[in-house]
Symmetry: C2
Subunit: 214 residues, 2 copies
Amino acid sequence: MSQTRVQHFTVSLDGFGTGEGQSLDRPFGHADGRLMDWLSETTFGKRIHGEVGGTSGADDTFLATFPIGIGAEIMGRNKFGPQRGPWTDEEWKGWWGDDPVFHTPVFVLTHHPRPTLEMDGGTTFHFIDATPEEALQQATDAAGGLDVRIGGGPSTVRDFLAADLVDRMHLVVVPIILGRGVRLWDGLEGIETRFDIESVTTSSGATHMFFSRR
Amino acid sequence: MSQTRVQHFTVSLDGFGTGEGQSLDRPFGHADGRLMDWLSETTFGKRIHGEVGGTSGADDTFLATFPIGIGAEIMGRNKFGPQRGPWTDEEWKGWWGDDPVFHTPVFVLTHHPRPTLEMDGGTTFHFIDATPEEALQQATDAAGGLDVRIGGGPSTVRDFLAADLVDRMHLVVVPIILGRGVRLWDGLEGIETRFDIESVTTSSGATHMFFSRR
């Protein structure tokens, strides 16, 4: 049975999943790389950026599960790029270069669809204007019996949590106070009652929280 | 050298230090006892309520440090009671009965001072209209060389953090989404850079975070 999963989605201690002021040079706005510090030196984290070496340990091991059992991803448009409104050109192909890390179909939620983008390595970006339920149906159909990752950003994760569509969520809380940006938790009062939650803190100072639907 | 310390102050995953709608029957508003679930079954937690028995372990051990080295506390008026504005009577003597858990001088910040209250067991409530700096000076003078606890609620902890008066903070993050209430982190962007932070998660699911001023 295909599951809907959030994987190591990272928030600040004050609950922001990204900073303020996203731009081409600052995908996370004023947060810059701080939400991702816990993974940047890990072996798997370096591999994402085409680098070799890196640390092993709990953070790396948690991160290395990223592709396991995933057949499709759903992401918000602001994870795909900094543009807003109608596309002025279609040159932008995401932050991840010619061979994106996904290697599966990726459904980008946008009110401004554009033609499908076939990338190297098996990643295909589909641009769809859909509700969470509709998007999940399409992604599940494309996932070939594997799981669907809800890839972020915070608004997209929040929408899928609000619609009670998430089976498992691996959340990472890092000890920084961003102060501004996009909050994950708005409107989600009491959702902890839907999940069993296990938490563990690693030596980087990150707290990994595993939410499993009851 | 006397230090200013926050001790096991508890916030929800979305950063609320208390719920909405405080009243005589609901000191934490709609949060009720949920922020304190991690301590309610511990030996020390039960002792606070005059009960015996309870669990041992990391949560209990962390909690048991509550009185160690503390010579005075500063608290906000809303920790002392649910009243707002001028006191309509002075019958209210706090939530803690005749023999409060503090056993030291306690300075209650309020714009409506009232006469000092001498309680059993060494607790004395002083009601003062003062800035954080002024209150800390008075509390330090009263602490006899020991440390000063910033006891909460969230607005009071926030004010002392904003004024950079906190040397050590033991924060507890619990996996609940309160959704509304009083936020701890507002206006505190970037304060993590002032502290070394160590985190550990216990079997109750609480994450204990120890902030030590650099």
